[in-house]
């Protein structure tokens, strides 16, 4: 589904990703862990098409199609979703109106008609319930004055609405208390299917107690230096990243 081949990317001529290889198949959950500055968020941004990063080598493929020439919105239309570590506040635009715009833009790009209003409302209601989001919340301005937890929950709500093929969750657990973490993780789990995939980027293991990964990758200095199953996350939690450095003689 998502294939990343020998991906190199830099910003201001400084290389941050130094040859990433990753294959994500439908139905899978991958976790990418690593210390600060390893390139985790850069990887997420590059896959989503942020133009301040320059891809110098390698490619990102979705269903075999190279995404290199696609703007962020085109990637979104094809099924890439990025949950932001720091979601942006948009005063004056309600959550509901924002989702209407986003969904209908995607539909337009796919040559579909706008979603009928009643269908949209039904979907919004359904997905809001999934994430235990209060109805009032939907008529508030997007992310404006939201708590950290509300912002992250709203990100997953957007993911639920947009139904992406590949969802990348960038540090979705940061700033969440344990209850919010549970709700967010339960939401993600309910959205999982055999046809989509989730890439969880996290610093800590605790989110992975709730979203069990099939694969765990350790990103260090722009490269994936170790891959394993869920037990690798536990080992990292216990031993820290220094252990990897020593083992890999980095």
């Amino acid at each position: 589904m998502l294939e990343i081949k020998n991906l190199h990317a830099s910003v201001d001529n400084k290389e941050i990703l130094k040859g990433i290889n990753l294959v994500v198949k439908p139905g899978e959950v991958h976790a990418i862990m690593g210390p600060n500055g390893a390139g985790k968020s850069t990887l997420a941004s590059v896959v989503a098409g942020k133009d301040e990063f320059e891809v110098t080598k390698g490619e990102v493929l979705l269903d075999g199609q190279d995404l290199a020439d696609d703007a962020p919105e085109e990637r979104a239309h094809k099924g890439i979703f990025l949950s932001f570590q720091y979601p942006i506040e948009i005063p004056g635009v309600t959550v509901t109106n924002f989702m209407k715009t986003a969904i209908n833009e995607s539909r337009k790009a796919r040559g579909q008609e706008d979603m009928p209003a009643n269908e949209m409302l039904k979907m919004i209601k359904e997905k809001a319930e999934l994430l235990e989001i209060d109805r009032k919340f939907l008529s508030r301005s997007l992310n404006e004055g939201f708590s950290g937890g509300e912002k992250k929950r709203n990100e997953i709500f957007q993911m639920a609405m947009l139904e992406p093929k590949v969802a990348i969750l960038d540090e979705t657990d940061s700033g969440l208390d344990i209850d919010a973490l549970r709700i967010v993780a339960a939401g993600v789990n309910k959205l999982r299917s055999k046809d989509n995939a989730v890439v969880v980027i996290t610093h800590y293991q605790r989110l992975l107690d709730y979203i069990i990964p099939d694969f765990v990758h350790v990103l260090y200095d722009g490269k994936i230096v170790k891959s394993g199953d869920a037990s690798l996350a536990l080992e990292l939690e216990e031993k820290g990243y220094d252990w990897i450095k020593q083992e890999m003689a980095l």
């Binding site: 990637r75 979104a76 990025l82 004056g92 109106n97 715009t101 833009e105 957007q158």
Partner: protein, 438 residues
């Protein structure tokens, strides 16, 4: 002939049309002398450093309105706030249009300046308020005073609330190649009275129009006034809008200026706080593009203690448009416990657009809170990426961000239909369908 000379000559002709024995005529004559001495403001004057009238002075303006042209309501309906019931004072090429207007004398006076300046029953009000708060020295205000004859006259007596908003609309039909209009408005709101007023200048052709307007507003003790200026004129129309507001204790005056159209727009907005616990609020949204210039000059003069002023101006400049914001706050020695707030935020969308912004604070009291801030920036790339990553195209994403940037200024608009209208105008100005009902 230069426009100034033409105006000086025209004044003599003007004197044939008005009652020379009326006390107001002495005011006019004195004002004409001021203009004759000073002429039009030039870029050498600090207050006019960034705004030039030179190209306007070259045009051959018709100075006196001819007979009223007729306009069909259906053709101009869209310029009215037709969703709600309003009083209307409408002028076509400077001449009152009784057909399009809806004035009243029931409980309040919503009528014509020409009547107020000539009929005896209005004499006490005219003597007390006409040309009192307006500047006697400012060039263009003096010019307007010299030719003051027509405009809107609004008088709300003590303890009275105007039941409907009042619309003042000045249409220019384009029958003249170039038309100079000088409307003069007087708004007197007595103690504990309340009114909402909307004003717009609308040219209906591509012919040049230059409007030099003066509005005097008097807010007595505990009066509440909401004034909305909708500036969305054709690109061949220029406007100098001089507004003078004399506020007394506990009065609340809120003035919104929405500047989306016009070739050159200069707003001179002056608040004088002659009492305690006064609240003065000025808000503005400016969205302009190629060939347009908008200049906001504001003044708040804090004269008495315990008063507040709030200014929040947002500007979005595209193409080769230019903007000016000059916000002057004066706090007299007596005006302790003043709370003055000023904010001016600007987005430059194109490499060719520019803005000159300048806060100007003169504070002579020592126990005051005065804050000011101005920003000039571009759209936030991270925010743009966020919206794009949700599938929203770049152009729409930019529009959404600009909309969000300007939107909060509308929170204080108290006529819901107007708010909706301005919201729609902002969306239209930004050139995209936002995909939802505003």
């Amino acid at each position: 002939m230069e426009l100034k000379d033409k105006l000086v000559n025209a004044f003599m002709a003007f004197e044939n049309q008005v009652d020379l024995d009326h006390p107001v005529h002495d005011v006019r004559s004195a004002a004409m002398k001021v203009f004759e001495n000073q002429g039009f403001p030039t870029k050498k004057m600090e207050a006019w450093k960034y705004t030039s009238l030179k190209s306007l002075e070259k045009l051959d303006f018709s100075i006196f309105p001819k007979e009223a042209a007729t306009l069909e309501y259906k053709d101009v309906k869209k310029y009215f706030l037709h969703e709600v019931d309003t009083y209307k004072i409408v002028f076509v090429d400077g001449v009152y249009s009784s057909f399009l207007s809806e004035t009243t004398h029931q409980g309040i006076d919503v009528c014509l300046m020409s009547a107020a300046l000539t009929k005896d029953m209005y004499k006490p009000i005219i003597e007390a308020y006409f040309n009192k708060v307006a500047s006697k020295e400012e060039n263009l205000t003096a010019l307007n005073t010299a030719f003051s004859k027509e405009g809107a006259y609004i008088h709300i007596p003590k303890n009275t609330q105007a039941m409907k908003p009042i619309e003042i609309i000045h249409f220019a039909t384009g029958r003249e190649q170039a038309l100079l209009l000088q409307p003069r408005n007087l708004v007197v709101v007595e103690e504990n009275a309340e009114v909402q007023i909307l004003e717009r200048h609308q040219s209906l052709s591509e012919n040049a129009v230059f409007t030099n307007a003066v509005t005097e507003i008097f807010a007595a003790k505990s009066a509440i006034i909401d004034f909305y200026k909708v500036q969305n004129d054709n690109n061949s129309a220029s406007l100098v809008d001089n507004t003078y507001i004399d506020q007394h204790s506990q009065s609340v005056v809120t003035l919104h200026t929405f500047s989306f159209g016009g070739k050159m727009t200069r707003n001179n907005l002056n608040f004088y706080q002659n009492g305690e616990r006064i609240d003065s609020t000025m808000k503005g949204v400016t969205i302009i593009g190629d060939g347009q210039h908008v200049d906001h000059h504001t003044l708040v003069h804090h004269i008495q203690p315990n008063c507040e002023s709030h200014q929040d101006y947002k500007g979005i400049y595209d193409g080769n448009s230019t903007g000016v914001f000059n916000g002057k706050i004066m706090v007299d020695r007596l005006a302790q416990k003043t709370n003055a707030f000023q904010q001016n935020n600007n987005l430059l969308i194109s490499d060719k657009s520019s803005i000159n912004t300048k806060p100007q604070l003169e504070i002579f009291a020592d126990d005051v809170k005065c804050s000011h801030g101005c920003t000039i920036g571009q759209l936030d790339h991270e925010a743009l990426f966020y919206l794009q990553s949700r599938g929203i195209g770049k152009k729409e994403a930019q529009a959404l961000l600009m909309y969000a940037f300007a939107n909060n200024v509308l929170e204080s608009v108290r006529i819901p239909e107007l708010k909706k209208r301005v919201n729609a105008l902002i969306a239209e100005k930004l050139g995209v369908n936002l995909g939802f009902e505003l």
